[in-house]
């Protein structure tokens, strides 16, 4: 009985949390799609500066990591393919697993570490120093002013970053292909492109948009629910990272399953 009520409690908490995230997302969507036609313009300047931080700022580290991931993927798949003398399939193995899965996922994890945590810390600090209250007393909606530009930046930048991650991953695989599997860079890239269907790339990009929405919602929600005191900022920033990673994996599972059954049907 005790256990059942505990499980029930956690499920209710979890649903309430998801509800809060959804509310935040809906408000941001309202300010993006409806409010501009009611005389409340979008804050493009803030969105662009966020996009620079989220997107351009992440490029060096993202490039390096996804290049290595591509190389690792090539090595791991070659370990098995070698037994069948099918090393030429390394290119398609890397290309498909990067675009369908690892490109979007690794990008999301890096963005969580760089930007999801930063959103929570920034908004959390503003909460502690009464800056959020100050916005409200100036009749400025914090969701409109702070959160919506972040959603916009993420939804636009995550697919871009993911595309770049896919490309860098394939390049990483090419390093192995050229060194070990009688490819040239050109034949490797051509083999990768031949292996890919448009739906592989699109399903990955669709997932990355969902990841962007998830990361922003969690980061901003954690920031806004920060209580009083500096130590709260740290706690909610950590929570933002942990919860984002969990929810991104969950969203990944749901969408991967969805695409799987859609393509089967």
């Amino acid at each position: 009985m005790e256990l059942a009520s505990q499980i029930g409690g956690s499920v209710t908490d979890g649903l309430a949390y998801l509800g809060a995230l959804a509310r935040l997302g809906v408000r941001a969507a309202y300010f993006t799609f409806v409010a501009p036609f009611q005389g409340k313009p979008l804050r493009m300047q803030r969105a662009v500066s966020q996009a620079m931080q989220v997107g351009v700022g992440a490029l060096p580290i993202l490039s390096l990591i996804t290049f290595f991931i591509g190389l690792i993927l090539a090595l791991q798949s070659a370990y098995e393919l070698r037994k069948f003398g099918a090393l030429t399939f390394v290119a398609s193995a890397v290309a498909i697993s990067m675009t369908r899965e690892l490109g979007p996922l690794i990008t999301a994890v890096i963005v969580i570490g760089r930007s999801g945590s930063a959103f929570a810390a920034e908004i959390g600090t503003m909460k502690v120093t009464e800056e959020i209250d100050a916005l409200e007393t100036m009749a400025i909606d914090p969701i409109h002013f702070l959160v919506t530009p972040k959603f916009l930046a993420m939804v636009v930048m995550l697919p871009c970053l993911t595309t770049w991650a896919n490309f860098m991953g394939i390049l990483g695989g090419a390093l192995f292909g050229v060194a070990q599997a009688d490819f040239t860079v050109v034949t490797y890239v051509k083999a990768s492109l031949d292996a890919l269907f448009l739906r592989d790339i699109l399903s990955g990009l669709a997932k990355s948009i969902m990841f962007g929405i998830t990361i922003t919602a969690v980061g901003c929600h954690e920031g806004l629910s920060t209580g009083a005191g500096a130590e709260q900022v740290g706690r909610h920033t950590t929570r933002a990272v942990v919860v984002s990673i969990f929810l991104v994996i969950l969203v990944d599972l749901v969408f991967t399953a969805l695409f799987f059954f859609l393509s089967a049907g």
Partner: protein
Amino acid sequence: MDQTENPALQSEAMISLRNLRVSYGDREILHGISFDVMRGETLVILGGSGSGKSTLLRTLVGLERPSSGEIWLKGKNIAAISNEEMDEIRKKIGMSFQGGALFGSMSVGENVALPLREHTKLENPTIEIILRLKLDQVGLAGFENYMPSQLSGGMKKRAAVARALAMDPEILFFDEPSAGLDPIIAAGVDELILDLKKAFHMTIIVVTHELASAFLIADRMVLIDKGNVVAIGTTQEMRASTHPRVRQFLDRVPEPEVSQELDYLQMLTEENRRPSR
């Protein structure tokens, strides 16, 4: 406690509180507050830590919703209006927060200009002029390009006042204007409040526990204790008051130690009983 008897303050009420109750969760912080704030007066809300004075201020500017009671401000009961209507009222009030609450990512000038950019259709050159005027009023002329982190505590407060003044508010709220400042800088902030009062005849509401500053700037004072109004009156009336809580607060007498076990038990149970009322 009928304030309308005071001949010096015959003017109409700017804000009227009627039996205002505010709770956090099931803990009631304010237990039925009623008083009026007159147009053009400076009212100081006095009270110790945890008395509920900050909650009262947050409720007056619409950051907290009362659980019951009424707050009449500009002919509207802000306890029962929509967010859109509240936003319209918020454009007519200014609030200076304890730590300034300036936006760290924006310069002082951008901070002060923000409400103008958000709520008016003024052209940039006009905003620049208003911005310089407001900074000049608080003694920060020429600081528009500084970042808040480059300002001292007193300057941050002045910048926050400039931002609160940006929309030419009818009512100005101050949360602990002298908190965290040395006596000289704090006196400077008091001076600023007096200047604003003289220059604009604004209605000013200040929450503080600094007695010296309170007696300097106030026309009238309200003493809040444990979520109730203990006393309200002019500075002279407060000084002359014989009410034990007022005397204790003004004479800075520490809370008596609870020596009797029975008293202690009673105090604990009293604390427990209050929220459930």
